[in-house]
Amino acid sequence: MGAAMSTEAMETVAIRAEGLEKHFAAVPALNGVDLDVAPGELVALLGPSGSGKTTLLRIVAGLDHPTAGRVFFGDEDATALPVQARRVGFVFQSYALFRHMTVGDNVAYGLKVRPRSARPSRTDIRKRVSELLELVHLPGLEKRFPAQLSGGQRQRVALARALAVEPRVLLLDEPFGALDAKVRRDLRRWLRDLHDRTGHTTLFVTHDQDEALELADRVAILDRGRIEQIGTPDEVYDRPATAFVAGFIGEAVKVPVTVAGGRVLLGPHGLPAPDGFRDGPAALFVRPRDLVAAEDGEDVADTMPLAVAGVRRAGPARRAELSIAEHLPAVEIELPPHVSPSRGDTLAVRFSTLRLFPA
């Protein structure tokens, strides 16, 4: 696991989940999840809704209890530890700020509820609150109420409140879920920055792959209560381990194909199959960059002539929609600047990467 690990840390693992299972009235939400998070690491739990990612986060926090399995913080078995004793900083999807308290009281809450012996003095609490608000770029907003803040500001107050208790780990549930695109991008960069400065071990849940890939040291991809793959953003993006990951990451189109006699049969077209691939039905995942338009004078034998069904703009790139055969889903290709086909043309393409998985 090539993650940013701090070498001085006594523990090599900050959070460990071991064989976690959770059943809600016989419906499994988690199905044997193992996960190690190194100290100081920023790990994303990525998956579609219902994949169990939030359940996993809540079990680590102690807000839910696993049906089976254990949770460790460092060497300590925290499975039986009540939520209050776990010292986690949890940021809720809807922020869950105390609506009847000022921003200052919200941030101070975790310090004020400590037993008298462990509670800082009133002056210290006030000082700590203003430091934390400074840290999240909201200085001087102590007297405001949550309802008077924007979504992005509330999100940062929630983070300051979670950081106030000096948590061992920081857990974020869809931290940017309720914000608009521009604010999301800014906050994403800001959170990465804050993490690099404070070095909290952080686990966050998201359904947005761009967010996970941009922000995290490692990404765990969940589906139906299992971790399908865990690795650096490059690993999961470039080398999807399972058909689910290949379909979930990147804008892949899934094309059902048949492999027979070392050939991948795509409707009327055929391609050489990877060595040792078993014959039978398979799934081919095609990302826009996996297809390359053939250059003039290139050997036509390696290419497939596909009909252009449409051309559209996708951010900085232009993409063409190509139909393989009538009964198969159309695939997309990212067009080089000098190629501009129009609808109805035929474009000769070849695969630069073949993402083939047994069906």
């Binding site: 102690g62 209050q84 609506r99 009847h100 809450y109 975790g110 509820v113 208790v165």
Partner: protein, 304 residues
């Protein structure tokens, strides 16, 4: 948006000549014609005047028919004073009880999942759907001399029915739903995430309840208590069955009104009734103030 090309706004088109005159302003689909609107408003006001304003005015007119002296004299009657005292006592016991029961029931229903939750939700509404007379009879059947627990109570020299405890029990039963019904929708709407946040920050369950749950529902709680109190003081049916109508001992204000009326002491009856009507008016004003000032905190259900 600034990046969109500035498009000229649609200029007001010169009015095309029309053969028929139409309303100057196009009517919204949910809007009725002026005539329909006026008819509806008149009907509503007429109905209110006939069935609410008129009787309310009649209470005060009747009470003051023979002058202020007679009106005030009613309140120097020891039986009337006893009835007022008893009503205040019953309310003072049953309202705090229902506040505690109501908060507990609402908390359980809104914040936890458990077997029998829907049954409990239905049971909370039971006092509203049962006739108050039946509610009173149930207590007589349970605690009366020939009731289930009657012999045991008699053996221990405990008097429940036809005594203050019975009146309190009946009142508690009848007014139970007010607090719970105010709180349940609000607590459900607020969800549990604020409580969870407090717990992750190290607060104990009780501390969380005191510092997060309760402050979030305080205005709705006050609203429920207000309605609960109004009903507790005004309840007639259930209390009538269990009270026994012993003057000066088990007679509440509503029962006293009936007794005075049956004795042709109209001024007395309406004088006591005017107190109850006054209570209703105060409740109404307080309720409106709460709705106006803290509408948000009372939950969406209030605003409909």
């Amino acid at each position: 948006m600034s990046d969109a090309p500035a498009r000229p706004r649609a200029e007001p088109q010169p009015a095309r000549p029309r053969a028929v005159t139409r309303p100057a302003r196009p009517r919204a689909v949910t809007e009725e014609t002026t005539l329909t609107r006026r008819l509806l408003i008149a009907t509503a006001i007429g109905f209110l005047a006939l069935f609410v304003m008129l009787p309310l005015a009649a209470v005060f007119v009747e009470a003051l028919r023979r002058g202020l002296d007679h009106y005030l004299a009613t309140f120097s009657d020891p039986d009337t004073q006893a009835a007022i005292r008893l009503t205040l006592l019953v309310a003072a016991i049953s309202v705090p009880l229902n506040m505690v029961f109501g908060v507990a029931a609402a908390w359980a229903i809104a914040k936890f999942e458990f077997v029998g939750k829907s049954l409990l939700t239905t049971l909370v509404d039971l006092p509203f759907s049962v006739s108050p007379v039946v509610s009173g009879l149930v207590f007589v059947l349970l605690f009366g001399a020939h009731g289930l627990l009657g012999p045991w109570l008699e053996a221990h020299d405990l008097q429940i029915v036809f005594a203050v405890p019975g009146i309190v029990l009946a009142t508690v039963f009848v007014t139970f739903p007010f607090v719970a019904r105010e709180l349940i929708p609000l607590m459900q709407e607020q969800g549990t995430s604020e409580e969870e946040a407090a717990l992750t920050l190290g607060a104990s369950g009780f501390r969380t309840f005191l510092t997060v749950t309760l402050p979030n529902v305080k205005w709705a709680l006050l609203y429920g208590v207000l309605l609960c109190n109004a009903r507790a003081m005004g309840e007639f049916g259930a209390v009538s069955v269990v009270s026994g109508h012993v003057r000066g001992l088990t007679n509440t204000m509503p029962l006293h009104v009936e007794i005075l009326y049956n004795e042709y002491d109209f001024v007395g009856a309406f004088a006591v009734a005017s107190l109850l009507a006054g209570l209703a008016l105060v409740t109404l004003v307080a309720k409106s103030v709460l709705e106006w000032r803290f509408g948000d905190a009372l939950g969406q259900s209030r605003l409909h």
